[in-house]
């Protein structure tokens, strides 16, 4: 027996190196595949995190003022969130600021806020450091209280508190000061509004100068109206644009006062019996966006109302209501950032609600000392409360992503101004807009595009496969199969381009005659059916043809020998035997159709509609990611939602491919080979 020579050293080394490289490459591929969904999950997961309130520490207020002696609280934090500052406006017009110093937070000495000497009856935070102050003598002040952090030029931040009175408007009534009054504006224009006990609403306005550049002087005007107050006025809120005033009464009515239009137009008003059980309205506040109104009532219930169209007219209607309990709602503090707000009840319990998704984000049980006054920082990340013991407490508000969550993505929601609840995707909202993040229209778009494409592609591809493998001369097969498979090499951007710019207008001009006046979008499901179908035909055809060709010729020959016609043999013998392969082919085609991006991006119109009609377009999950990617700020809610979209898309295609594998396997066992 011939003895094997030992391998030379070099060969052994090459052997070892090859094994190492192949192992590493293989592991890397598997790891990457596992890491991709993990990464998507990591980016999308924060959307579902619960919000939280985290205590950050207490400071003793100077003189231990109780909440009744304090008109307003101010809180701010720098962008890093590490430094905070607090302000306390006492009813007697003095201000105290607490700023970070050497040894932690320290109060600066009291300083006076100039203006009328009378005590402050009402203070309202207008945002941007502006406060409207109503004095006991009926004088309205617009105060600017600055407590925002700025860069100190050395990488840190610094806060320099400042306060001054910007405007003063006399609003004293003939007999008594107003029950409610508010002043807003700036140097160029302002609006002062007061409601008196006899139901008079008086407005003094300095309209801004006309023109794009706002040059020149404003136009002063005054108007008033008398409103029949059904009962005592118990709460009021004016929106930021100053065109809508809501009043709440002690007998459960909401009164909407329309202040839009110029000074010549009349002040219109309308009373809505909001609560049939006549429970008093105890707190009112406009939510961010100036449209929806949060209402707190005497039983501790909180609800959100906004005008909705009913029979062509806008009517104030309730959109959401949360359960009662905990004593009357004493204060509602809206976030200046999103549609969330805090509702503080008499027993000291606190609820954090989000209006769009109708969720209670967080419930904080009653505690001692009970919080009496609240303030939220302009970025909505810090909460300052003044307890009944006179101490101030900071809390970090982590609202996470309130507009997200299961409700936000998958439930029908009643958006502001909508007639009924709907699934809507309209991600980019203007400043203080309401983002609408329903993923349902996108999933629908993906499914619809794939379904239309499969309806077009499956019969064609399968017919071609049967023809080529069973009926065509073998020479044809050798030539045609590679040609059809070559179609798969046409880049999808080319298909999309042709579909959008050539096929869509052509189809419209041909169909216009039959459709008459039916609504018809040029970029629609029919175009997608053809274009996307065209892209998946080679995949289905190739796999199906392989499966049919793999059926042993002996089977068909046996059928033919028994007297079956060609078609009978194909239908009765060949196709059932090839069924598992055909099924797998169709499923892989479907997987490709769901994931395809470029064609739908270019030819589907990208309108996120839920409709069965073949004459309108759709926006698919994949196209949505491509469309919105450049405008998604890193770490924002849209950014994470796009990751969720990709996760969903991944799950969808994975699901389809897995089904293909598993069912294909089962069919294979059932029908034997191939």
């Amino acid at each position: 027996m011939k003895k094997l020579r030992p391998l030379p050293n070099f060969s052994r080394l090459a052997d070892w190196a090859a094994e190492a490289i192949i192992t590493i490459a293989g592991l890397a591929v598997i790891l990457t595949l596992a890491a991709m969904p993990a990464l998507m999950l990591k980016e999308a997961a924060p959307l579902f995190l619960p919000p939280g309130l985290k205590p950050l520490g207490k400071i003793e207020s100077p003189e231990k003022l109780d909440p009744g002696q304090v008109a307003a609280l101010i809180v701010s934090a720098d962008l890093s969130g590490k430094n905070r500052a607090a302000g306390l406006l006492a009813r007697d017009g003095r201000l105290a600021f607490a700023v970070p110093g050497e040894g932690g937070m320290a109060f600066l000495p009291w300083r006076p806020l100039t203006g009328s000497a009378a005590a402050i009856r009402q203070a309202e935070n207008l945002g941007g450091g502006k406060f409207s102050l109503l004095r006991e003598d009926g004088v309205l002040n617009l105060a600017q209280i600055d407590l925002e952090f700025a860069s100190d030029g050395k990488g840190g931040t610094v806060v320099e508190p400042a306060a001054r009175i910007l405007l003063e408007v006399e609003m004293g009534g003939e007999t008594a000061p107003p029950l409610y009054a508010m002043l807003r504006g700036d140097g160029a224009s302002h609006q002062a509004l007061a409601v008196y006990a006899d139901g008079t609403v008086r407005e003094k306005r300095l309209a801004p100068p006309r023109g794009l550049l706002r040059r020149g002087g404003g136009i002063a005007s005054e108007r008033e109206a008398r409103i029949r107050l059904p009962a005592s006025l118990s709460a009021a809120a004016l929106n930021r644009s100053g065109d809508t005033l809501y009043l709440g009464t002690g007998e459960g009515d909401l009164i909407k006062v329309d202040l839009s239009g110029d000074s010549d137009s009349e002040i219109a008003w309308e009373a809505v019996p909001a609560f049939p059980d006549r429970r008093p309205v105890t707190a009112l506040a406009f939510l961010n966006g100036d449209y929806a109104l949060a209402v707190g009532d005497g039983l501790g219930g909180t609800s959100v109302w906004f005008p909705r169209r009913e029979n062509g007219e806008f009517r104030l209607r309730r959109a959401v209501a949360w359960p009662i309990g905990g004593g009357a709602v004493e204060a509602i503090t809206p976030s200046l950032r999103d549609r969330s707000f805090l509702s503080l009840r008499r027993d000291g319990s606190l609820s954090w609600f989000h209006s769009t998704t109708a969720r209670e984000l967080l419930a904080v049980p009653a505690r001692n000392p009970k919080p009496g006054l609240l303030a939220v920082s302009s970025r909505g990340d810090n909460l300052l409360s003044l307890g009944s013991d006179g101490n101030l407490e900071f809390q970090a508000m982590d609202s996470a992503y309130p507009e997200a969550g299961w409700n936000g993505f998958f439930r029908r929601l009643l958006y502001e101004g909508y007639e009924r609840a709907a699934f809507v995707w309209q991600s980019t909202a203007p400043e203080s807009g309401e983002p609408k993040l329903s993923l349902v229209p996108l999933v629908w778009g993906s499914v619809k595009a794939a379904a239309f494409a499969m309806l077009f592609a499956t019969p064609l591809a399968l017919a071609a496969a049967v023809f080529l493998s069973q009926f065509a001369p073998p020479a044809w097969r050798a030539c045609l199969k590679p040609v059809v498979e070559m179609l798969a090499a046409v880049p999808s951007v080319v298909v999309g381009f042709l579909a959008a710019l050539w096929l869509a207008p052509l189809l419209e001009s041909r169909l216009r005659f039959f459709l008459g006046d039916q609504p018809y979008d040029q970029r629609n499901s029919l175009v997608i059916a053809v274009a996307l179908g065209f892209a998946v035909i080679p995949n289905i055809f190739s796999l199906a043809e392989d499966a049919i060709s793999a059926v042993p010729n002996s089977l068909a020959a046996a059928a033919l020998a028994l007297g079956a016609s060609k078609w009978q043999a194909v239908r009765g013998v060949v196709l059932p035997a090839a069924a598992p392969g055909i099924f797998t082919a169709v499923m892989f085609g479907l997987g490709r159709a769901v994931g395809e991006t470029m064609i739908v991006l270019m030819a589907a119109g990208n309108t996120p509609i839920i409709s069965l009609s073949p004459y309108n377009g759709m926006r698919t999950l994949s196209a949505n990611i491509a469309v919105e990617m450049p405008e998604a700020p890193v770490g924002g809610v849209l950014f994470r939602t796009l990751f969720l979209c990709s996760l969903l898309l991944f799950a969808l295609t994975l699901g389809i491919n897995l089904t293909a594998e598993i069912l294909g396997h089962r069919l294979r066992r059932k029908y034997g080979s191939p």
């Binding site: 023109g211 239009g261 449209y291 806008f314 809507v424 450049p630 890193v634």
Partner: protein
């Protein structure tokens, strides 16, 4: 007699003064741009599509003055400007709207100071219809009813041209609505002014650029869309717009824009990351100076936008120093 004649003389001299003063004031144009020494480097611009053509014109003319400066312009929508400025991928960010608070914060968080908006031109956002469309004008509430699903301006739904007042063949013709994509500042501006911050109908065909909107309308008999006035072509018609509060329809001209009569007027901006403690890079500073010079503003007018009034130009120039 004497008094009378002296009065006449005074009047005459005043008129003469006025006559001589008027042309003098008109000739008083923005500063002419003159080349300065030592300017080199890159200017990358990422942002508004509305300003895209204008940016291209400016950069072309600017390169003629400074062959050593490379100017690159990318315009996919105003929303792309803040991320690019924040990341330092762009030195200037043209925008057709002001930044949102969240965008300013994102910038401030990573750069430590706020970005500065410099107004560079006046724009009228125009509503376009097909050339053959006979509709005389639209009011804002009508536009809202055509474009918006929420119809916050409270007009009955308009889906066919008949509902906007057309008769005959047009009465039953469906309105085909074109708009911009959400990254666009124009999209946000139209949403705010014409729709009271309501929502777009989801049948609005979102186009990736201003020219695409105009082209879409040009090729669609029932089409309507909005874009900057600079994208007007002969195949579309620009509609006068009424404010819907009793005012007459107003043509989108720059006179009407500046006096506030045209409701869809706006300023176009270039945002710059100007660190308060440091001067701007020379190339960026000179580019803006050029845009605000008489040559630059001439190009603004050639592109179909409105030049800024002199006092506004002076204010903007101060922002750059």
């Amino acid at each position: 007699m004497f008094r009378n004649s002296s009065r006449k003389a005074l009047f005459l001299s005043l008129v003469l003064l006025g006559l001589t003063a008027l042309p003098a004031a008109a000739a008083d144009s923005p500063p002419v741009y003159r080349q300065v020494a030592g300017v080199a480097g890159n200017v990358n611009s990422v942002g508004s599509d509305t300003l895209n053509n204008l940016m291209a014109l400016w950069s072309e003319a600017f390169r003629e003055i400074y062959p050593n400066v490379a100017v690159q312009v990318e315009g996919k929508g105003s929303s792309t400007a803040p991320p690019a400025l924040t990341a330092g991928a762009a030195q200037i960010g043209p925008m057709s709207r002001l930044m949102k608070t969240s965008e300013i914060e994102g910038f401030e968080k990573s750069r430590g100071f706020k970005p500065t908006p410099v107004a560079v031109a006046v724009d009228c956002l125009a509503i376009y219809v097909h050339r053959d469309n006979p509709i005389p004008s639209l009011s804002l509430p009508q536009a809202d009813a055509i474009f918006s699903s929420t119809r916050k301006l409270n007009h009955a739904e308009i889906a066919r041209w008949g509902e906007a007042g057309l008769t005959g063949d047009w009465a039953n013709r469906a309105i085909s609505v074109y708009g911009r994509n959400a990254a666009s500042g124009t999209y946000a501006f139209f949403k705010e002014i014409a729709m009271g911050n309501g929502d777009y109908k989801n049948s609005v065909k979102e186009q990736p650029g201003s020219a695409a909107v105009v082209n879409g309308v040009a090729g669609d008999l029932g089409g309507i869309g909005y874009s900057g006035i600079g994208y007007r072509t002969s195949e579309v018609r620009v509609l006068p717009v009424a404010d819907g509060k009793g005012g007459n329809p107003v043509e989108p001209t720059f006179v009407n824009a500046l006096n506030g009569k045209y409701p869809l007027a706006r300023l176009l901006y270039i945002y710059i990351p100007k660190d308060p403690k440091q001067p701007l890079p020379a190339a960026t500073r000179e580019f803006l100076r050029f845009a605000l010079s008489s040559q630059g503003q001439e190009l603004v007018e050639r592109e179909g936008y409105g030049a800024l009034p002199l006092d506004v130009l002076a204010e903007q120039l101060k922002l750059i120093e």
